[in-house]
């Protein structure tokens, strides 16, 4: 059996507000194995970034993990103190965010930032750490490393900066990398370079990757399995080929149909009527039921849930009109 690196069990993230408690992540369970890329996809407000932040222990107060457990290679990490979590972040879980400029300090040379991060997490001497920084920059595909290591972040292009952020995330050889929209700010040709790099690193180092994005194309290209989120809940989970080619959940089907095809000519794009509900106004039963053409009485009453591969849809779960 493959080694499970990340195991999220029934995770629930809540935001207490004056108008009541909002549930941003509602009973999410998922696992990522060694060397596997799990894509987490959804539209704005679906809770995908919040799931990543909860795993990193970076929820902004008053947001908090209300229930559930997060396990990293057999160690429970959701109940650690902030000091203990600091030792996990960076060393065992690397993070890559959308905007590489906010992840890099503009006042320090990139080489110094890498050396500092390496020395924070390992026992290496300064010169050994610099050697390691050079190797990492080379590994993420930065040309002429010896000349560029002493440059400042603004001297690099967007794609090169994102490579440096990836090198930073790799400094301590983490077991898990959480990449939140790592290619969204980049042009398509650079996006392809970065996803190819992530795939290669994952394969060569056996790192588990959680790739959070709104872009189904990036997921299809990069991920092994995909989790589709809707209104804080898991709508569908499965192998990327299955979810992309034969989606089971009506929301996934609608989502796939709304993307213009590169092969077929369509007079009209498929549309999902309406919009995703706000967190304070999630309907009873299945959160998607008001927009779903197949919704029956059960869908309006009971919430379908999945805790493994499948679709959280009464039609798919029970195989008949609910």
């Amino acid at each position: 059996m493959t080694e499970t690196v990340l195991d999220v069990r029934n995770l629930r993230v809540e935001f207490p507000t004056r108008r009541g408690t909002l549930t941003a992540v509602d009973d999410i369970s998922l696992t990522i194995a060694k060397g596997e890329i799990l894509g987490v996809v959804g539209e704005s407000g679906a809770g995908k970034s919040m799931t990543g932040m909860a795993i990193l222990g970076l929820l902004e107060p008053p947001g908090r993990i209300a229930s559930g457990e997060i396990w990293l290679s057999g160690d429970r990490i959701d109940n650690l103190s902030e000091t203990q979590m600091q030792a996990v972040r960076g060393r065992r879980i690397g993070a890559i965010f959308q905007d590489p400029l906010t992840s890099l300090n503009p006042l320090f040379r990139v080489g110094d930032q890498l050396v500092e991060t390496i020395r924070l997490h390992t026992q290496l001497s300064k010169s050994a750490a610099r050697q390691r920084a050079i190797e990492l920059m080379r590994e993420v595909g930065i040309p002429a490393v010896e000349e560029r290591i002493d440059n400042y972040p603004h001297q690099f292009s967007g794609g090169m900066r994102q490579r440096i952020v990836i090198a930073l995330a790799l400094c301590a050889e983490p077991e898990l990398i959480i990449a939140d929209e790592p290619t969204t700010a980049l042009d398509v040709s650079i996006q392809a370079q970065i996803t190819a790099l992530l795939k290669r690193l994952c394969r060569e180092r056996g790192t588990a990757v959680m790739l959070v994005t709104h872009d189904m194309g990036v997921i299809a290209e990069t991920a092994d399995r995909v989790a589709v989120m809707y209104a804080g809940r898991l709508a569908e989970l499965g192998a990327v080929e299955d979810v992309v080619r034969r989606p089971q959940h009506p929301y996934t089907t609608g989502l796939m149909g709304s993307i213009p095809s590169l092969r077929r000519d369509e007079a009209e794009l498929q549309m999902i009527p309406g919009a995703m509900p706000r967190l304070g106004a999630i309907p009873e039963g299945c959160a998607f039921n008001p927009r779903c053409a197949f919704a029956g009485p059960k869908c309006r009453r009971d919430t379908p849930r999945i805790h493994g591969n499948g679709a959280a849809c009464w039609l798919a779960l029970e195989g008949a009109t609910a």
Partner: protein, 319 residues
Amino acid sequence: MTRPILEVAALERRFDVSAPWLNRMIERKPRRTLRAVDGVDFDILPGQTLALVGESGCGKSTIAKLVTGLHAPSGGSIRFNGDPDKMQMIFQDPYASLNPRWRVGRIVAEPLRTLRPDTPEAQVTARVEELLSTVGLSPADAVKYPHEFSGGQRQRISIARALAGDPEFLVCDEPTSALDVSVQAQVLNLMKRLQREMGLTYLFISHDLSVVRHMADVIAVMYLGRIVEIQPTKDLFANPLHPYTRMLLDTIPDLEAPKRDRAPMGGEVPSPVSPPSGCSFHPRCPLAFDRCKRERPRREVHVHDRRVACFAAEAAANV
């Protein structure tokens, strides 16, 4: 033959990006100019959609601003064979392009009040209600403020505003890039329906090739301020002529072929302040030869009927 509604010829726009005068004197640095648009030609036929695609910094948004008169050209010409009042624009960011202090009714009525100030108030109100229904909003939404709407609904308001003056020609600069895909589908379908019903002409600017394939009749691919290839949509996807177009088509993720492994194209778009000599794509081009470094390729009649600016394509066509 139908006369084009828009004719753009040898269009140029340069921006001065020099350091301040004193710095230039002290550091003995010359003036620097950025050629955002560098000799661009295209025509658009009435009722059609021409799309400009390319990566950031290729000059596509600058062309939108030149066509709508928000920038003055540094060279070349733009001829609009229609009533200039009948040209409108839809911008990318539905949050920045609507005045947050105005009610939706006033926003949508603004072009009407500006272009036809003697319209009676009752007619303006009726027209605003009609426009809001046309774009799929409720006439009652006229009294609300922009912040009460989602991104997709705001883009519908921008479209209603653009339609207020009965335009013939719409310049759409990345109209759906800020929207989620399911919302994007709603807005794209709306734009196509309006084009069909009102005979609109679109200049559609986007970086997303799948969106462009869905919307455009003709696609112009831009690289560093130049059009490297321009073809009817079907032909461009079936038979891309420029190596850059081929590279772009290779890099877009294909949902119908998941988990594809591919060798992405190396390199990046160079700075438009100091573009490479000759063909600006030559440092990244697998087919480049000596001539590409020396000479700038142009779209010639004898090379695929002016569809591509590439010496390799020219050589292949002459064999």
